[in-house]
Amino acid sequence: MSTTTTSITLAKISMSPRKRLVMIGMSLVAIMSVTRLWTGFDNLTSSGTIGAALRLTVPIMLAGLAGLWAERVGILNIGIEGMMILGTWFGAFGAWKYGPWIGFLLAILGGSLGGLIHAVATIRFNIDQVISGVVMNLLAFFGVRYLSELVFVGQPQGGISQSPPQSFAIPKIDVPFLAGGPVGSSTTPDALGWLEERGWFIIGDLSGITRGLMSGLSLASLIAVLLVPLSAWVLWRTSFGLRLRSSGEAPEAAESLGVNVIRVRYIGLLISGGFAGLGGGFLSIISSSYYRQGQTAGRGFIGLATMIFGNWRPSGILGGAAVFGYSEGIKLVAGGSITGLFLFILIVSAIIGLISLLQRNIKRGSTAIGIGVIALIAYLTVTEVPESLTQSLPYVITLVVLATASQRLRPPAKAGVPYRPGGGH
């Protein structure tokens, strides 16, 4: 039976997914609100938690963007972790010596250097992309130790695995009127804070969430988050972006239309390294004020995971990173509240389970119910989750999401496939 091939101009479907997303978002907030009221864990949606979450989201998001820019040109970048490490070191070095903005600049350059090495190895010398990435990580890890030994040892509070602390910081903003930020020299009312304190159903939560994004907001975070729409704009609205994406989707087709795929791939990896470096710089300049060995803690890889289940789109990466940021934020602000998350998971999976069973999707329904049962048991029995286990949360989440996400994903078609020019026909 052949499909009838109709070329109809469909009604623009772009409205529905967005509306759907808003609906899902609102339901999640509502469920979270219920959980908060039931358990009394106000921290679940407090501005403090959300503020921390934002700070924790940014490095992962930047790592994810780093992965995006690389895979969109067709090259796997497992070395993001290493490029982030370079970013943490060079960022801390620059910030310590010259101030935070120079620090960021050096962080980006440091990461790009890593990107360049990876590019030369994989494009010019055709090394296996995964091997090159893995070696990149080791090179960076030990390279910065050596650099530390040269530069930080002997400095106050410095050593082979730590840099001296920075003295200048990037200013933080509080939005006036909504979050009590100053206008001129007078303080303004903290409208959202007031609402948040009232703790009303949904309104209180929304206020908390919004205020968290508006108070104590670092300028750097703001700029970083703006890189998400900027990336999207460049990739989808400029010639450069189109040619870049085509190099990862169909390099032969691109080549046949005059695109210099090799050059585009080099540029993509430089940008990728730059993003990774920026993410690392964020860790050592904003999240803390010094470089420390192991600061990246696998965020490069988690970033890759957000790229995968963000479906290789900047918005998806932001969303995925936000999930990680939030879970780490909760842990940081009030570790005990994490049991509240069990209740949240219970409610969400119960709902998904019921809907799936009504839709006759037995497999998804039973899996969701199963998860709900586990969450229920956890909620009832666990009073305090041991620190060592919560540490593994982001990595477990990564695995779980990757394991379940396989179907709807759409990676760039030729990501990871080595390309030799002149290969088409």
Binding site: I127, V130, S132, V135, G143, F301, Q391, V396
Partner: protein, 378 residues
């Protein structure tokens, strides 16, 4: 109708059969290119030292001096032992184009399990040791098995899953150790599991300097060689690595091979810390059990080109380099240069090898054509 190969005549011809000759040519190319790469890497390292204001000559002379010390040579072999296990584990996967980056998590998990299990057993000598080894093998394989399941059933790329499992292992191990396995009867900061009874100790070859685990490492590499290059299973493994499509067309199940390869890889990984558990500290502990050996194994495997002899040589080389760090400290050379050198060596070797192999293949094809033309028509 066929062409007889042009072979050297006389007794040399009998030893240097055409097949051996071509095999030697391949090894020769690899060896030569690796040596060149190492020299290039050393040059780059010297440059790095020079640029950052350190004395490359001092560094290298210190290293060479270290080599003259026989004690240091024993230390080289001692340090090489876990690297041999780690690299072999990685190489098993590489033969099938599977990247097991999770050796780190696998070996630490195995070390904890084996040490704890060993502390509860009381068996006569060899059996006790064998039991501990068995637990290590099984635990390593089990941890790798998670990645195998995720890859085969859920299509999760093994690079990400093994790396995630490394971090998860660290957490998981810390929790289990602190909650259940820690021996709190012993005072001090160096906490460990309960020390294993002496029947579970593996004796040293050279007292205090080199443990019998080194011999076991060599045996494992030898088994690796036999299995991968001589056995039927090894053939299937390598065939899947050569051309997965052709292998499955011929009936070799890609899924089965993937799972077995990962399990074996994990099992061998489980042995990485056994020198420490059986021969040195006789327990597991956060400060007692060495870390980072999983990643080191990857570099050794890459440097050794996933070949048994290469792995041993590379492990010894890296073991030697590691042993120089104390002397370098004394000579006022930052000893972290050692690790950087190792990373640079690996990168250059991989690059140079890739280029060399490509050129060698072109020459092999040309030589084949020439020999056929010279040998006359069919």
């Amino acid at each position: 109708m066929s062409d007889t190969a042009v072979a050297p005549s006389g007794p040399l011809g009998k030893i240097l059969t055409p097949s051996r000759a071509s095999g030697l040519r391949t090894s020769g190319t690899t060896l030569a290119s690796s040596l060149i790469a190492v020299l290039i890497a050393l040059a780059i390292s010297a440059l790095m030292l020079f640029i950052t204001g350190k004395d490359p000559v001092a560094a290298f002379t210190t290293m060479i001096d270290t080599a003259k010390n026989s004690d240091k040579l024993l230390e080289m072999m001692r340090r090489a032992t876990p690297l041999i296990f780690s690299a072999t584990a990685v190489a098993i996967g590489f033969k099938m184009n599977i990247f097991n980056i999770g050796v780190e998590g696998q070996y630490l998990f195995a070390a904890l399990m084996a040490a704890e299990a060993g502390s509860h057993l009381s068996l006569p000598g060899p059996l006790h040791v064998a039991a501990i080894l068995a637990v290590a093998l099984i635990s390593g394989a089990a941890w790798a098995g998670i990645s195998a399941y995720l890859k085969v059933r859920k299509n999760v790329h093994e690079v990400i899953s093994t790396i995630m499992l490394n971090y998860i292992a660290l957490s998981f191990i810390q929790w289990i150790f602190n909650s259940f396995f820690r021996d709190d009867s012993v005072e001090g900061l160096n906490v460990k599991t309960t020390i294993i009874a002496e029947s579970g100790w593996l004796p040293d070859i050279v007292e205090g300097r080199l443990n019998s685990m080194f011999i076991i490492a060599l045996i494992v590499v030898a088994i690796f060689w036999v299995v991968v290059y001589r056995s039927r299973f090894g053939f299937k493994l390598r065939a899947s690595g050569y051309n997965a499509t052709a292998a499955s067309t011929a009936g070799i199940s890609a899924t089965k091979m993937t799972v077995i390869a990962l399990l074996l890889s994990g099992a061998v990984a489980g042995l990485v810390a056994m020198q420490s558990v059986l021969g040195e500290t006789h327990a597991y502990g956060p400060s007692a059990t060495p870390i980072q050996l999983g990643f080191a194994g990857i570099t050794v495997a890459l440097l050794g080109r996933n070949h048994p002899v290469g792995i041993v040589v590379a492990a010894l080389l890296f073991g030697f380099l590691d042993s120089t760090s104390a002397q370098l400290q004394l000579a006022e050379v930052p000893n972290s240069i050692v690790k950087v050198m190792q990373a640079i060596i690996v990168l250059t070797v991989v690059i140079v090898n890739e280029a060399a192999v490509r050129r060698a293949n072109v020459r092999t094809a040309e030589r084949a054509r020439a020999e056929l033309a010279a040998g006359g028509a069919a």
